[in-house]
């Protein structure tokens, strides 16, 4: 197998060691991983390969003098292919204070089960 070219290489970020992982496919289309120093490396590689996800943090326009942008984030990690759409949706929102940290701004984005929430409170302004 070592002669075979890896189909992907990646760095495991599950701990500070940062193992350089090589991913291979065998005859049965099963994924094998080398370079990991522990089992978490395999789990990481499988998820990154089959269903990569990211927490997205950005800002929405807010009707506020002091903070014209409200920081927002996804509740959990979002499948990567939805990120661009989420960013566009977030930039297109306009939030009117008051808003509380944790308040849901978009629920169940594109059916992913992931919400977009405010990550800062903005009080009402006079």
């Amino acid at each position: 197998m070592s002669q075979q070219e890896p189909i992907r290489e990646m760095i495991c970020i599950s701990c500070p060691l940062g193992c350089h992982l090589s991913l291979y496919k065998d005859e049965n289309d099963e994924l094998t991983v080398t370079g990991n120093k522990c089992k978490r490396g395999v789990v990481y590689a499988e998820e990154e390969y089959y269903a990569p996800k990211r927490v997205v943090t950005c800002t929405c326009p807010a009707e506020s003098e002091v903070f014209p942008r409200l920081p927002v984030r996804t509740t959990t990690s979002l499948p990567k292919e939805h990120i661009d759409a989420l960013l566009r949706a977030a930039y297109a929102l306009t939030v009117k204070p008051p808003v509380a940290c944790g308040e849901v701004l978009i629920e169940n984005f594109e059916g992913t089960g992931v919400d977009l929430i405010a990550s800062m409170s903005l009080g009402a302004e006079q």
């Binding site: 970020i13 500070p16 060691l17 920081p71 990550s119």
Partner: protein, 426 residues
């Protein structure tokens, strides 16, 4: 709180003054007030939380709150706690002068709201954070056009004000701020063409390399420098050179057209106020030299957070600041360590904080490695005799490390007045 006017200027008295309301100042002030001392918290900006407010990404709070938060969320939890406590908060107020040589210390503060305030206290906690190194500090030659920003300034412009400084970006420095900004600029529609790092290894967290660069195929040039900036009015391109024996190799240089250069080339503790007050500085950290109680060379003046040494994690800032707060209150009660010995940075250790050790109250030590290594070993020696060893799975200069000594570690030590504790990495 005691307030009196003299010649019109407002005068206030407290037990403790905390300067700066970032992660450090907030944690310190809360701890002071929990210990029933009166406390003023002075912050130059109109918001509390310091740099956290512009760090809208996640990666905060895993130790403090056992969950992953963004910077503003982390700050908000701290702020709520401080607002609920008995702390007098002064925002939009800048401390411009500190007279700390006497038993009662005085700080002059400028504010559009309060005018000039004189705050008189018995102890001061410095929590002013740091500033970014800039183009002049790294002496990049070339023209001086618009379009050169420090990464933190760009972060502020994008995240808080909502402005996009440029469309075609090159980033100097692979520290976490630079990496986070690479992703942020991409997510606001700019093209990040490259990250240029002078060291042979990246100086940010691997997680950020993966999620902020690799995710977007942004190339990282290690052992390279931006050797020239070009463009008359606005940046037009930069020249990038590989380093050979530490010198930019002109022959193998190449150009990257861009309109924006973001500099993420390190932070410097903001100690001008403290230096003017006569405080001794550790040249390795540009922060104060502190003893085992986080007290600086000036009696009754304590230091914590980024103004003491540049931290990677807000959680550790908060932890350190809490200790500074607690020690400041003990100082008010005249509880000082019975004895302290010197701590020295040994082989492969850039610095260690604090610089003194109290054997009767062993506590956490923060330090940074000079080397990159997996399966390293931390070696602690007392007067050249090994007294403790700790395995470290991975060390690198950009990741701060810590070790906590326990009373049982210290129990058998033969400590003399001039004993020295040496910490090294193998």
């Amino acid at each position: 709180m005691h307030c009196e006017g003299r010649e019109g200027m407002k005068e206030l008295q407290y037990d403790v003054l905390v300067i700066g309301a970032g992660a450090a100042g907030l944690a310190a002030a809360l701890e002071v007030s929990r210990n029933n001392a009166s406390c003023a918290l002075v912050e130059r900006e109109s918001h509390l939380g310091g740099i956290l407010i512009q760090c809208i990404h996640n990666g905060f709070g895993l130790e403090e709150y056992k969950e992953e938060l963004t910077g503003p969320e982390f700050a908000e939890r701290q702020v709520q706690a401080v607002r609920a406590a008995d702390v007098d908060i002064f925002t939009d107020t800048t401390v411009t002068q500190l007279n700390a040589e006497n038993d009662r210390k005085e700080a002059y503060c400028y504010s559009a709201v309060y005018g000039v305030l004189r705050i008189s206290v018995r102890a001061v906690i410095l929590a002013m954070g740091c500033r970014e190194r800039n183009r002049g500090n790294i002496r990049t030659p070339g023209t001086r056009p618009a379009g050169v920003y420090t990464a933190g300034l760009a972060q502020r412009l994008v995240n808080i004000e909502g402005y996009i400084p440029g469309q075609d970006v090159v980033i100097v420095g692979s520290g976490d701020i630079g990496l986070i900004m690479a992703r942020r600029m991409t997510w606001v529609g700019a093209k990040v063409h490259a990250v240029i790092e002078i060291q042979p290894y990246p100086s940010g967290l691997t997680r950020n390399i993966v999620q902020c660069l690799n995710d977007f195929d942004i190339p990282l040039y290690l052992s390279h420098v931006v050797s020239r900036i070009e463009g008359k009015q606005r940046v037009e391109k930069v020249q990038v050179s590989p380093l050979t024996n530490g010198i930019p190799d002109e022959e193998n240089s190449f150009e990257i057209p861009c309109d924006t250069l973001l500099l993420s080339v390190g932070l410097i503790p903001e100690n001008e106020l403290s230096k003017e007050a006569g405080m001794e500085i550790n040249p390795q950290t540009n922060g104060a030299l502190v003893d085992a109680t986080m007290m600086t060379s000036i009696d009754g003046v304590f230091s914590c957070g980024n103004v003491l040494h540049v931290h990677d994690l807000a959680d550790w800032v908060a932890e350190e600041a809490r200790r500074a707060g607690a020690y400041a209150v003990r100082y008010l009660r005249n509880e000082r360590p019975k004895r302290q010995i010197r701590i020295k940075a040994g082989a492969n250790v850039r610095y260690i904080n604090p610089a003194m050790f109290d054997p009767d109250n062993p506590d956490k030590l923060y330090f940074r490695s000079l080397i990159v290594k997996n399966q390293a070993k931390l070696q602690i020696k007392l007067d050249h005799k090994p007294v403790k060893e700790v395995r470290l799975s991975h060390v690198q200069p950009s990741e701060m490390l810590h070790v906590k000594l326990k009373p049982k570690d210290v129990a058998g030590w033969n400590i003399m007045k001039d004993s020295v504790l040496e910490v090294s990495i193998e």
